[in-house]
């Protein structure tokens, strides 16, 4: 079995696509209409386009436990997932200038430096740099 997809629950797929591409810098890979207004929508790192795809999944809109779980994580400040970056401080500066809100500013945690921001779609996302 291979790991090809990472699913992130989002409350609005179009808003999520905009944030994950225009702000975070991913590119759209797959966009297939499904039932009603839902899409199988994935983005990837532009330098690793055959790598792991992020599935922007509208589960909070259709499955109450997913909505409850997402809200509980968010309220506790817990990141839904994390992405690796070259330099957490630089990425923090860049994203803050684009209006992204951080709940955890760049913080050293032993051998890594982390920061946590709001993806505007119901999640906290952590970025991490290996020191």
């Amino acid at each position: 079995m291979k790991v090809k997809v990472l699913s992130i629950p989002v409350q609005d797929q179009e808003k999520a696509l905009k944030f994950y591409t225009e702000i975070l810098g991913f590119i759209k890979k797959v966009d297939v209409p499904l039932s009603e207004e839902n899409r199988w929508l994935t983005v990837v790192n532009k330098e690793e386009q055959d790598g792991t795809e992020i599935l922007l999944e509208p589960s909070p809109n259709h499955f109450e436990p997913a909505k409850t779980y997402q809200k509980a994580l968010f309220d506790a400040g817990i990141p839904y997932t994390q992405f690796n970056v070259q330099n957490t401080q630089q990425e923090y500066d860049r994203l803050e200038n684009l209006g992204v809100k951080f709940s955890v500013k760049p913080t050293e945690m032993g051998t890594v430096k982390i920061a946590v921001f709001n993806d505007t779609c119901g999640n906290n996302i952590q970025i991490v740099e290996m020191l």
Binding site: D50, D75, A76, G77, I78, P79, S103, V104, T107, E108, M109, G110, T111, I114, V116, N124, M130, L131
Partner: protein, 134 residues
Amino acid sequence: MTFYQKEINRIKEICYSNEGQIQTVIGTRNYIENNFDKELNLDLLSHIRFTSKFHLLRLFKKYYGQTPRQYLINKRIEKSKDYLKMGMSISETCYSVGFESPSSFSTLFKGKIGQTPTDFQKEQFSQSQFKTDS
């Protein structure tokens, strides 16, 4: 303060309070990152950090969950994938990332990636051909 912020503080206190140890392993990891293609061993790495090799081995495993040698091999294999994708030959790739024997490189590569370097390279080229055609 959120639950997560409290957890960060708690974990920092428990796991990351020894700054000296942390700097030692970070320095070792960065040295491996910048010199992975050269001949490296625990004697050299511990000498650079002014520590005993057994202490370094224990610390590195404590903070990274693997030995310096495992980290080095993983780094070399990851870099070798980049070289193979660029079209470098198997033996050239082997020597460029610091391995000394193409046969042991191939065995290690297959163990980590699940395919031989040759098969990996063929697959990369056929995938890029498919993209070009479409």
